[in-house]
């Protein structure tokens, strides 16, 4: 299908992809409920086609107030990210076909559009605008849950996200002063400007200690909102890091820590969607390590892993979401044995689980191993060791815990109906893509930023991976058998959010109490004064006051006479 054969569609290439989504969102805001789902699925599909056919290059330079902006920088790196973003928007919105909530639907479109706009941004200002766009649009997917808890969580999420944007803007401004350029290209850490930008990316990429917005927010979003959320924000940050800080050594260590620490949290967390959020964080670690290594192989690995990860992570969120949709809960303690009545959802969840675990023939295997190989090629043994450990640990929470405790294990007695058809269709398509990538990795490799010389299906690699996984399962089975597994338990896990949800308010509270005591005395005095003043004003201006009388013909004439008198005096004296 060449653009020449479709003149109407060829006009599309003149429009930045993101600007396809914004009018679409406007349209979604006014369309009747019946027509919105087709729009939500069709528009990203159209965008995917546009991204696929776009030529490479800087397509839309824009000079604005003396700044050189670039709305559409298309190269292999931005294209693969934009492509997966459009695809997941199609799948996520298909999954949400039943939705009649205008707020979520508009937000989903704006959010996807902003994320894609940011990926194609060729300069830091454009990047900033879309960066904040994702923050603002996405919070509505959390607020759409419409509970008090979700509102507060959304607020926290918004503060963190907007903070990231503000840091980015500050960094961009400094960067501009330093270099005279706003071009968004490879940067070197060292100046305050680049550190600020790095930190901004780091927040969105959920670096250790900057991560908790993710685990806080994603389980609070709506069933369908979480699926959409899981795809864009963090992967946008991964793209930005790959673009701006490839080969920055500190990222290797940050990434290594990221792959390791969330697995413990994921193991004991009870809310399955939060388990997946921790798991997401762990997967981001692999990508960050790849960016830190910065070799062609590593960057290919990062891009490929991001692509595959978006799909299987969405698939997992979809399946847990389907369970939540049918049972009203995503808590491990309240679930179990659901395969009896939701077999299709169970099978699809298992496909997601084996994909993320890296079972050969599924997508995780062919992408994650690229990052591991890059690490071993660079002889980074401690990092490599961490990645091997993390690969096994992923199995524990995402590979086993999610499907096992929801669909198997003890029978919870619940007999929910199978997920709705459109959800099954969305999950089925996503699962099919996971399998397709696993079976024919060449398809994905052809899209990567650099030429790929990598063959995942060598005998030793498959055997090694199977050993790792199977013995991991053996360890799990033994732990279950002997009661060593931490098991399922209701509760809340403290994480870095404790610092701002509990510690900071406590410290501030103490400080505030002190200030309040001092202030109180002063305020009492001022208050008394003010009350007197207000009384004075109210007595005159209030509804019963002299100044507000409504039957004043006489007093009016009185005033007329007074003013005339004053006037005459003034005029005569002058």
């Amino acid at each position: 299908m060449s653009p020449d054969t479709l003149p109407a569609l060829s006009a599309l290439s003149a429009l930045p992809t993101a600007f396809l989504f914004l009018p679409g969102a406007l349209l979604a805001a006014v369309l009747p409920a019946r027509l919105r789902p087709p729009l939500l699925v069709g528009l990203p599909a159209l965008a995917a086609w546009q991204v696929w056919t776009l030529p490479e290059g800087r397509l839309m330079p824009l000079a604005l107030m003396g700044l050189e902006l670039e709305l559409m920088r298309v190269d292999r790196l931005s294209r693969i990210f934009a492509l997966i973003f459009t695809l997941i928007a199609v799948l996520g919105n298909l999954y949400a076909w039943h939705l009649r909530d205008r707020v979520q639907q508009v937000a989903a479109l704006v959010y996807a559009g902003a994320a894609i706009g940011a990926v194609f941004a060729g300069d830091l200002i454009t990047l900033f605008l879309w960066w904040e766009g994702t923050a603002i649009a996405s919070v509505f997917l959390i607020w759409a849950r419409r509970t008090e808890g979700a509102f507060h969580t959304g607020m926290r999420y918004l503060v963190v996200q907007v903070l990231s944007g503000v840091l980015l803007l500050a960094g961009a401004a400094l960067y501009w002063r330093e270099t005279g350029s706003l071009d968004f290209t490879l940067m070197r850490l060292g100046s305050p400007a680049t550190w600020l930008i790095f930190l901004a990316f780091g927040i969105k990429a959920a670096f250790p200690l900057l991560h908790n917005w993710l685990q806080d927010a994603y389980p609070a979003a709506t069933v369908t909102g979480t699926v959409i959320l899981s795809a864009f924000t963090t992967k946008l940050a991964i793209y930005a890091l790959a673009r701006g800080f490839a080969g920055t050594e500190i990222l290797i260590w940050i990434g290594a820590v990221m792959t390791v620490f969330p697995v413990f949290f994921a193991e004991v967390e009870n809310d399955m969607r939060r388990v997946l959020a921790y798991s997401l964080n762990n997967q981001l670690g692999f990508m960050v390590v790849g960016i830190g290594i910065g070799s062609e192989m590593a960057l290919n690995g990062t891009a490929a892993h991001a692509f595959a990860h978006i799909l299987y992570k969405a698939l997992l969120f979809m399946s847990v979401g389907a369970v939540l949709y049918r049972t009203g809960t995503a808590r491990a303690t309240e679930l179990g044995g659901l395969y009896r009545t939701m077999p299709l959802t169970a099978i699809l969840a298992v496909i997601g689980a084996v994909s993320i675990s890296g079972v050969p023939l599924f997508s995780g295997f062919v992408t994650k191993s690229m990052v591991l190989s890059a690490a071993s090629d660079a002889h980074l043994w401690p990092v490599w060791g961490a990645l091997v450990f993390a690969s096994a640990a992923v199995l524990s929470h995402s590979g086993i815990k999610i499907p096992y405790f929801i669909f198997f294990a003890h029978d919870s007695g619940r007999r929910p109906a199978e997920a709705p058809r459109h959800m099954l269709l969305a999950m089925g398509l996503t699962a099919a893509m996971c399998i397709a990538i696993g079976l024919a990795p060449g398809l994905l490799y052809a899209l990567l930023p650099y030429p790929v010389e990598y063959h995942p299906y060598s005998g030793y690699h498959v055997v090694g991976q199977m050993q790792l996984l199977l013995f991991g399962v053996v360890a799990f089975a033994l732990a279950m058998r002997f009661g060593l597994h931490p098991g399922e338990k209701r509760g809340t896990l403290l994480d870095s959010d404790w610092l701002y949800r509990r510690a900071a308010p406590a410290v501030l509270g103490a400080a505030a109490a002190l200030v309040r005591a001092i202030w109180g005395a002063g305020a009492a005095a001022v208050g008394a004064l003010r009350a007197a003043a207000m009384g004075f004003i109210r007595a005159r201006s209030g509804p019963e006051g002299r100044l507000a009388h409504v039957w004043p013909t006489g007093s009016m004439v009185e005033w007329l006479a007074i003013i005339l008198g004053v006037m005459l005096v003034v005029v005569y004296l002058a």
Binding site: R326, V388, P416, P486, G491
Partner: protein, 103 residues
């Protein structure tokens, strides 16, 4: 089984029942293969044919043990952040379609 389950579910039940046997067989096979073929070792220790089996077993055990400690250390009540925090609340039912399978 007294329940009237869809065929696919019966299949999954079958898998669940025979899972451990299959796992044991698969694990043994993978371990044997590891010693039988060249593992193209690059990392230290990787040349040992059972390296990945060991790594998998030890890693998972570590995760499970550390996780138990973590829960003891950081676990709190569900309403630790208040009764209306997301963790303690029910998902609003009006946005869901909670339904049991019709027998």
């Amino acid at each position: 089984m007294s329940e009237n389950l869809p065929p696919l579910a019966r299949l999954l039940g079958l898998v669940e029942r025979h899972f451990l046997k299959a796992l044991a067989a698969g694990a043994a096979l993978a371990l044997g293969a590891g010693f039988a073929i060249d593992m193209h070792a690059k990392a230290p220790l990787e040349s040992f044919g059972g390296f990945y089996a060991l790594a998998g077993f030890v890693s998972l055990s570590t995760v499970l043990i550390v996780a138990r400690l973590l829960r003891a250390l950081l676990g709190r009540q569900e309403d630790y952040y208040g009764r209306s925090a997301v963790n303690a609340e029910q998902y609003p039912a009006d946005q869901l379609e909670v339904r049991d399978r019709e027998p």
